[in-house]
């Protein structure tokens, strides 16, 4: 698998830590999924005490703090610096939300924060759209990973703009990319991996499932299938039927 700022992950699955029925279910979901990265929101799940932060550390996977809920660059930068202190990592999933309803990224604030944080030594994982112009600017700002959305956060719609995502993947063949947000089903995750994305990040699809642990396992299997399929050189799509047994050359039995 491709490396993310010098780190090769065991599994292309990144899982969020919010909204589970209990921390115990969260721990079981992580174990069942084989996820290699845990994202954790800093704005609310911090403060004195840190009992929950310790539970996230105890998951034994790499931590990717995020700036969820930040609405401008300044807020996101402050949160990122707090995250670096608390979790002792340069990794930061940079979210700058532009719209409270759709939770779509604010491209301008995102770029501004990415420039500042990259210059400050952070390994920035920007939550972005499939926009290639923005992607270019983020890479120029120093981002060596991109996290395009599948669909709005928490919507469960899967890959909303397949064409846009496919062209983004093709335009930046050397940049590791994670599909972040909008996945609802394991098939969406497999889809993303089959399209050549390097990993997926999700939270609600697992945490809000009736049985989060079973759903976590299903996603773990789906990303394995998707990654294996991508590496197996999938056949192309054709416009007409092609018999799998040619008439000429059929065996005489």
């Amino acid at each position: 698998m491709r490396d993310f700022y010098g780190v090769t992950l065991d599994s292309p699955l990144m899982l969020g830590t919010a909204q589970y029925p209990s921390p115990q279910v969260m721990q079981q979901a992580f174990a069942a999924s084989g996820a290699s990265v845990a994202t954790v929101s800093l704005r609310r799940e911090s403060g004195q005490g840190q009992a929950f932060g310790q539970m996230v550390r105890d998951l034994g996977v790499r931590i990717l703090p995020n700036t969820a809920g930040c609405y401008n660059a300044r807020e996101a930068i402050t949160t990122a610096r707090m995250a670096r202190e608390i979790f002792q990592t340069n990794w930061i999933k940079l979210e700058v939300i532009g719209h409270a309803d759709t939770l779509q990224p604010d491209p301008f604030g995102l770029l501004e924060a990415a420039e500042t944080l990259a210059a400050d030594g952070f390994d920035v994982f920007p939550y972005t759209t499939e926009d290639q112009v923005l992607a270019r600017r983020l890479v120029d700002a120093g981002c060596r990973v991109l996290m395009p959305w599948g669909a709005p956060i928490g919507s469960g719609m899967g890959l909303n703009n397949r064409h846009g995502l496919r062209s983004l993947r093709a335009a930046f063949p050397d940049i590791p990319m994670v599909i972040d947000a909008g996945l609802g089903l394991p098939s969406h995750a497999a889809d993303a991996l089959e399209m050549g994305f390097d990993a997926v990040l999700l939270n609600s699809a697992v945490a809000q499932a009736g049985d989060p642990v079973a759903m976590a396992r299903a996603f773990g299997l789906a990303v394995q299938a998707g990654a294996m399929a991508a590496g197996a050189d999938p056949m192309g799509v054709r416009d007409m039927g092609v018999p799998s047994t040619p008439l000429i050359g059929k065996a005489w039995l």
């Binding site: 029925p21 209990s22 921390p23 115990q24 279910v25 721990q27 609310r44 799940e45 911090s46 403060g47 004195q48 005490g49 840190q50 009992a51 929950f52 539970m55 928490g154 009736g210």
Partner: protein, 335 residues
Amino acid sequence: MGRCITFTRSGPMRDITIIGAGVAGLFAAWHLSQQGWHPRIIDRNGAPGPHGCSWWAGGMLAPICEGVTADPLIARLGGQAADDWAQVTTVTRRGTLVLALDRDRAELSRFARLAPGHRMLDGAALAALEPDLADHRHALHVPSEAHLKPRQALTDLVTALHNRDITIETDQAQPQDVTGPVIDARGMAAALPDLRGVRGEMVVLHAPDITLSRPVRLLHPRHPLYVVPRGDGIVMLGATQIETEARRPITARALLELLSAAYALDARFAESTVLETGTDLRPAFPDNIPRVTVRGRVLHLNGLFRHGYLMAPALARQAADYLTRGTRGELIHED
């Protein structure tokens, strides 16, 4: 501290010390007093008040609605709570109303799938139940649920205990300071391993323009809200659930979210008066299920999470049954 045996007509009463006069400790005293025990209750702050998280509760006895996200054990054991509370305080049995705004109706379908015994409501049925919410179109009713006024319930429980000669002593005490059997119901102060605090924030409004007769839950993917009527035009809005142990006063964000959700439920809330805001930490174990942790002669009753009034009766009963008869209920954990 010497032990004494009090004789009654039914035979000798057994002594036990309960540390902590929150909902868990008081209900333990209530069940134990019915099983031939004479509890002595000690709390460093005396009678229940703003110092304890029981003070800041919603008071919904809603095992089915809670069961949508909580462990099935909560729905099962919480089912008896309304009957237990009715022994000591006024319990209003008018069910729970669950609403969703137009664009969140998928949340309501999902909730309905997971809430047995509910009834989907059309406009007329909703108007009949809560005329003030007649403008809403997506609603269901869980008729078997109930609610109470938490502060009144605590006061009534203290009175009921007082009538049985059980009073609350204001004193500092740790389980090791006391001889004989002890119930430690100190919540966060007990500092048990694996116990964490989950912050909750609430708002009390005076909204005389809106009449509600039962708790209303507004489903929302990001900012769920519940509104619990307290009578006399007073409603409680709750409650956030944040994985932090910060005890600072309510944040502007939480206040905005709670009030915005209430405003979305009914615009008349904008004209209401904010009487009170409150925050506290709910003690919780990693599975968010309360426990009776048995360590020798000490029973730790803790981890009621957001289910204080719903689960305290079951937790207290299991502790009492364990002490009296050695019964090992689902909530008993022997260390």
